[in-house]
Each structure stands twice: as structure tokens, then as C-alpha cells.
Symmetry: C2
Subunit: 96 residues, 2 copies
DNA sequence: TAAAGTAGTTTATTTTATAAACCAAATTTT
DNA sequence: AAAATTTGGTTTATAAAATAAACTACTTTA
């Protein structure tokens, strides 16, 4: 009847991060914070979880003298997202 | 950019309960447990939260000698669900 | 050089979800 | 007919998440 909702993606902030990354090739920490409206602390934690899961890659480097963290979605992340959307359909119907 | 996801509905089990109730006029506890696959304890708690929020009505009575809890979605519940679905769209695109 | 800002991380607190234990009545088994 | 099982739940305890607050380390500006 109802498909399981991947708990890693069923989180407002992680879903927002994935959504941004799907449309953007790569995004840095500050951009993600702005787009999602999240606090830095929360974002830091959730980025970490997405990386652990292999859904995004995270590169920490420097831009001049400032630290810069850049994220990008992986193939695995894309298909997990697609699966999640499919599962959602079983809850909310095609009617949207 | 991203609309807020009503935290009361952004829960797998509560969403499933709402989804069932949307399509069914009214449903008893056992039916909901079967449809959602949830444990009775979890279902009991989540039904309570949906009722507190005014999203469903809960009537406890007897059918013969057995207790029988019947739930139905409210107008408020329907529009909250619709709002939630709209908000979801901001995360997953029109492709839902 | 002191204050404020940037880019994060770590830790602590609160909130949720889930499971486990429990209760009361009814039904079935021996 | 007593004992065990099932039904229909609720309550309580534990695990997992989300969020906020505090902190680190470095940089820029006044």
C-alpha cells in the first residue's frame, strides 16, 4: 500500500539541500545556507549525514584565505531522490 | 524558495493515516493499523496528535462488546493536507 | 589592537518516533 | 472451568532526530 519513505531524505532540511543540489551542479556552504534558510549548525550536521550516505560529495578547500565547502549531488543521491519522490506518490496520489 | 513542511504531517505514519482517511469517510483503529502496517502503540500516539491538531475526529465506542475507535478526517485536516502537498512541490518540482 | 564578521564544527537541549510493557475484557483451548 | 490467547487499545521508556547555542579559528575593518 504505502512505500517506505527513505528516512534520510524525509527531513525538511536534507530534502531542501538535495533539491538545491539537483538543480545546480555544485553549491557551497554559504549558498546552501541562504537557499534553505537553515542555521549553520543544522546545515553542517545534515550535510554530513548526506555525505555519509553517499548522496552528496563534500569538498573542503580555501578560496583565498577563507574556508570554502563545496557540495555536489552524486548519482546515488539522484536515484535515492527519485525513489523518494516515487514513494511519496503512494501517500499523496497523482493528484498534484 | 522552499515552503515550510507542516511538521505534523511530515511524518510517515501520520501522513499514511491522513492519506487513508482522505479516501474513506471513516476508518477504525484496526483498519488503520492494517493499512499502514504500524504497531498499535505508535498508531495510538499518532492518532492522538492528529486529533489534538484538529485534523481528524476520533470516536471511541463499542461494537457489541469490543471497543471500537473510529476516525475521520476534518475539513481542517483536508486543507492542511492540501497545503502540505503544495509545500512539497517546492522541494520536488512538478514531477510529483 | 580591539571589535566584528566569516565559515564552519561541536556539544547540549528539545522534540519525535518507535518499541516494549502493560491493561481489561473477550474468546479459545485443554 | 481454569488457563492461555487474542483483541483493542494506552502508557511508559528508549532511541533517534532536529535544532539551537556555544565555541573555534581565522580575517577584515575601524
Amino acid at each position: 500500500m504505502f512505500k517506505e519513505l527513505n528516512p534520510l531524505l524525509h527531513s525538511e532540511l536534507r530534502l531542501a539541500v538535495m533539491s538545491v543540489l539537483l538543480s545546480v551542479e555544485s553549491a557551497d556552504f554559504v549558498f546552501l545556507r541562504e537557499q534553505t534558510g537553515a542555521t549553520a549548525g543544522n546545515l553542517s550536521v545534515q550535510i554530513d549525514k548526506l555525505q555519509q550516505a553517499g548522496y552528496i560529495t563534500v569538498e573542503k578547500g580555501f578560496q583565498g584565505k577563507k574556508p570554502r565547502t563545496t557540495c555536489a549531488i552524486t548519482e546515488q543521491g539522484i536515484s535515492a531522490f527519485e525513489e523518494y519522490v516515487k514513494a511519496l506518490r503512494s501517500y499523496i496520489g497523482k493528484g498534484l
